[in-house]
């Protein structure tokens, strides 16, 4: 999170320079950053735009004589019903994940505020452990948890009386795989959101809560009239970040299902990669990923607006 690292700067920001003389030193210092960013970030982005405007398949990759075709790739992608199915699925996937993440994280944060020291440290320790789990380790473990014959989830479900889950193959069914991916992403995302919200919640002055309670407000009322309004910017910020992270979630999906079974878990980044890698249509893949960037920029603009607001409020 950038905003927290940003804050101390204000206090100690250097006073206006004593010498008005122009100095090249700062420009020399940022030169390496500018050069590497230009080559490793800006150039690939421009290259992506260029590829998306060319006919760029395997022959062009090998020979390197791609021709410009204008917006033909975009026209092709946008007129493909499959693309729109993917967009719809991506929006669904994002909505479900983000709502679950935000609701559950808020509940966990509210719980943390109310816990005694020992239990709070225990829960926070658990959350940090989840946070520390590498994505690849987590995906591997989830495949094992939901394994059909020996997986502990099926065993538990059967033990609870759901006989139909005996040897149930989760990854053969589209909706089940979708559900597992949502579970995985929500599980991985809660620590960051919950701990950030908790950190924000303890900054709310305690007197506000006390006076509300004296006025007889219940927990829900206290949340809607005090906690949420006070931390509106923080909630907005975290929601934006989660939207961005979920939209571009690629590794979990690719490793667990490669977008399958069928197309059941193909979201935009997975689709762009499939088109480029399996069909070797780099041009169409580049066009899809540019469209995804547009979608993300919208979320990003919202994020920067929230960041700005947060800075204003603190």
């Amino acid at each position: 999170m950038t905003l927290l690292a940003e804050r101390p700067v204000r206090k100690t920001a250097p006073a206006p320079p004593k010498r008005r003389k122009f100095s090249v030193l700062p420009y020399l210092l940022i030169a390496p950053t500018l050069l590497t960013t230009a080559y490793l970030l800006f150039y690939p982005l421009v290259r992506n735009v260029v590829i998306s405007l060319q006919e760029f398949g395997l022959p062009q990759l090998v020979r390197g004589d791609a021709k410009f075709v204008g917006l033909a790739n975009y026209a092709k992608v946008l007129s493909d019903p499959e693309f729109w199915a993917v967009v719809k699925r991506t929006l669904w996937f994002t909505a479900i994940n983000v709502v679950l993440i935000m609701v559950l994280s808020t509940l966990v944060a509210l719980l943390l505020v109310r816990l005694g020291k020992g239990l709070r440290l225990l829960v926070m320790g658990g959350l940090v452990l989840t946070w520390a789990t590498p994505i690849i380790a987590a995906t591997t473990v989830f495949q094992w948890l939901f394994q059909s014959r020996l997986g502990v989830v099926n065993w538990a479900l059967v033990a609870l009386g759901f006989e139909e889950y005996r040897d149930y193959t989760w990854f053969a069914d589209g909706e089940a795989t979708f559900g597992i991916l949502v579970t995985l992403i929500v599980w991985q995302s809660i620590p960051f959101a919950a701990l950030s919200l908790y950190a924000a919640m303890i900054t709310v002055p305690q007197e506000l809560y006390e006076s509300a309670r004296i006025d007889g407000a219940g927990a829900w009322r206290v949340f809607t009239t005090i906690t949420f309004p006070m931390l509106r910017a923080m909630f907005g910020l975290i929601t934006c970040l989660e939207v961005i992270w979920v939209v571009k979630a690629f590794v979990q999906i690719w490793v667990i299902s490669q977008g399958g079974p069928g197309q059941a878990t193909t979201t935009l980044p997975v689709y762009a990669f499939q088109v480029a890698q399996s069909l070797q249509r780099y041009d169409l893949g580049a066009a899809v990923s540019m469209l995804m960037v547009v979608l993300l920029v919208l979320a990003l603009l919202a994020y920067f607006r929230q960041l700005y607001r947060q800075e204003q409020e603190t």
Binding site: A5, T12, A132, W144, I244
Partner: protein, 273 residues
Amino acid sequence: MIGRISRTTAALIVFVLSVFPVYWMVLTAFKPTKDIQSATPTFFPIPITFDHFGTAIAAKGFFSFWRNSLLVAGGAVLLALLVALLASFAIARLQWKGRRAFVLMVFIAQMTPWEALLIPIYVIARDTGMLDTLWILTLVYFMMTLPFTIVTLRGFLAAIPVDLEEAAQVDGCTRGQAFRKVVFPLLAPGLLATSLFGFITAWNEFAFANVLIIKDQDDRTLPVWLSSFNNTFGTDWGATMAASTLFMLPVLLIFIVLQGRVTTGIVGGAVKG
């Protein structure tokens, strides 16, 4: 009273749900194969075995994948640290035209959707002959961690009072000496924390490692190797979980080392995405 019991129950449920997958991974790694395959799973590691770790370590290429991951992540972090130190000094300590624009660029760069750049970077790597080399991965990871490193270092740097430097300069140090002798030692913990989080990002990265290292399988990194465990271990879940545990170990150690300094502020950008 009832409130307290339900809070405690809720806390325990949250704890168990967040810890269980990791617990199950480590537990499976230590379980004898016959316990892993029994119809009724056991929830405690009795008896324990180290066989699965042996299988994982003996797997073909295990040490070269380990070395590749270390090289790539370590190289990326060192590069990022060097470049970011210069830039963050310029932002935190100097006044110049274009400073705000530069900071904004860094913030935007930090939000780069790298997943959208898989295709052009693959093409560029191919054109420049860097495909299937660890160089290209090092460069990509360097760029991934650079903006975050600048932002955090700038925060640490800004927290060190300028007066200290000025005092040193009054006492006859040059600006460079003042930085080296006064600021740098104070900055060291910040450098350590920042680089370790950058290291985690690079250590965990999968998407680019998966695309850019194709032909030369010996040049793969640990995440890609782990994701293909089906080819390596078949249905040997004990060995797979042992390999995952070993892979997670450095990350966990870093979290424990930084425990005191782990604030949501530092971690956010590094660990996710």
